[in-house]
Amino acid sequence: MAEPTTLLSKPAASSVSESSLPLVVPRLHVPVVAQDRLRVMFDTNFEFVWRSLRRLGVPSGATDDAAQEVFLVASKRLGDIQVGRERSFLFATALRVASNARRAFARRESRHDDMLDRVVDPAPTPDQLADRARARELLDHVLATLDLDLRAVFVLHELEEMSMADIASTLELAPGTVASRLRRARELFRAEVARLQEAT
């Protein structure tokens, strides 16, 4: 692999942004005010956490609460989150929260005949696709057909545009596992999109 193998091995960034995590840092044991760290984690990662939750299937109306839950967990676990591993921790927590939220949402909707078919009639015309919101809705539908494990890898690669090595680091998976999950997720994604098109 030509790219850095982990987030930790990237060169230090000059400023804090969504994509630049705190990187190579010696291990320190210095007491400070925890709230400062939480604030930095929040400022740096809130957008990432929020859109990850959305893309992992949390309904839009529940995303704020889900994001809050993720950071609430982080706030209580600060002392055990390694420096430089904040985003990994947050995403793993978001996966849990999303899994739970998806289940709760599915339960609530189960009294309807078929939530997905009701929300998305699978016959997009070019005009409809011109409507980005409609496309986004369809994307939700297609992503919902992926298991969360596959979906996580797919979302990080295709939407977050992370490298496979970064995904492996974030999810604490072997690179080969990331590659195989991505391959499988893409097959399923394409198959579902093809199914939508055939239904046109």
Binding site: M1, S14, S15, P22, V25, P26, R27, L28, H29, P31, V32, A34, Q35, D36, R37, V40, F42, F46, E47, W50, R51, R55, V58, A62, D64, D65, A67, Q68, E69, F71, L72, V73, S75, K76, R77, L78, G79, V83, S88, F89, F91, A92, S99, A101, R103, A104, R108, R132, L138, L139, V142, E158, E172, T177, V178, L182, R186, V193, L196, Q197
Partner: protein, 268 residues
């Protein structure tokens, strides 16, 4: 592993759908509301200074240190390794930062007084690199012992004045909190029983968990706790059965390594 071209560059329906996600972003008010709830609003002096609004209000209280539910979340996460990331936390000795010290037997020893070492030279060296408080806080390290945090019964808040009942934190507005909070509470109770060396109580609590959350988010963690409790009552053959079944069902679970270590450390 070679990088693959991304599908969102493709000029087909798949590409179009993926590009539609480029707009995914929280509304401005979301950031403000969640920040307020967590007490990390810009200019906020600390936990108590936040002015919570909207849907996020409920966490303001919950975010205070010592709050019941939140503490439980933390405690249970520590205790059972809820997430992939946290898994490494649990299997390592609590106050070291080595990521892969996967000796569960070590981790099961209740943490002693936290070891706070101040490496001033390293601190000076690190400051310019990260340019943010994160660096200095590796040990924002709660001084509480990691594993033994929660001995109180699940529904007995230890700080009655600022601890909301779990039900409050899981209001009807959120589909997220209720069952997770309830799951955590039950699991926490089981793990606390384990810490008290009361394996029978732990098993009874885990039975209750299984009845209530047969498909719960924390089933793997509950299973790991059950295996530990089963070992504790001396039924290692049953524990091995459970472990074998668990590993067959969840070979890639974050908890799998812990389960393997548990049975490996048990007498034959």
């Amino acid at each position: 592993v070679s990088e693959l071209p991304r599908l969102n560059n493709e000029d087909d329906l798949a590409g179009a759908l993926l590009r539609s996600a480029a707009d995914d972003a929280p509304p401005t008010r979301s950031r403000a509301a969640v920040a307020a709830a967590l007490g990390v609003s810009a200019g906020a002096a600390g936990l108590g200074s936040a002015h919570a609004t909207g849907a996020a209000t409920k966490a303001t209280v919950a975010s205070k240190l010592g709050t019941s539910l939140a503490l439980k979340v933390g405690a249970v996460v520590v205790a059972v390794g809820t997430t992939v990331a946290v898994h490494h936390v649990i299997v390592k000795p609590p106050r070291t930062a080595e990521p892969h010290a996967a000796d569960v037997r070590t981790a099961r020893v209740p943490a002693a007084t936290p070891i706070v070492t101040i490496d001033a030279a390293a601190a000076r060296q690190a400051e310019p690199i990260a340019k943010e408080p994160v660096v200095r806080q590796e040990v924002a390290a709660s001084p509480r012992p990691t594993r033994a945090v929660h001995i109180a019964p699940a529904h007995a808040p230890t700080h009655a004045d600022d601890a909301p009942a779990p039900a409050e934190t899981s209001s009807a507005a959120t589909p997220v909190a209720p069952s997770l909070a309830d799951e955590l509470a039950l699991l926490d109770s089981a793990v606390s029983a384990l810490h008290r060396h009361d394996a029978a109580a732990a098993l009874a609590t885990l039975d209750a968990y299984d009845r209530r959350f047969p498909t719960g988010t924390l089933v793997p963690e509950a299973t790991a706790a059950r295996i530990e409790a089963t070992l504790a009552i001396g039924d290692s053959s049953r524990a091995r059965e459970l472990a074998a079944q668990f590993l067959a069902d969840h070979p890639n679970s974050p908890v799998a390594a812990r389960v393997r270590a548990l049975v490996a450390s048990s007498p034959p």
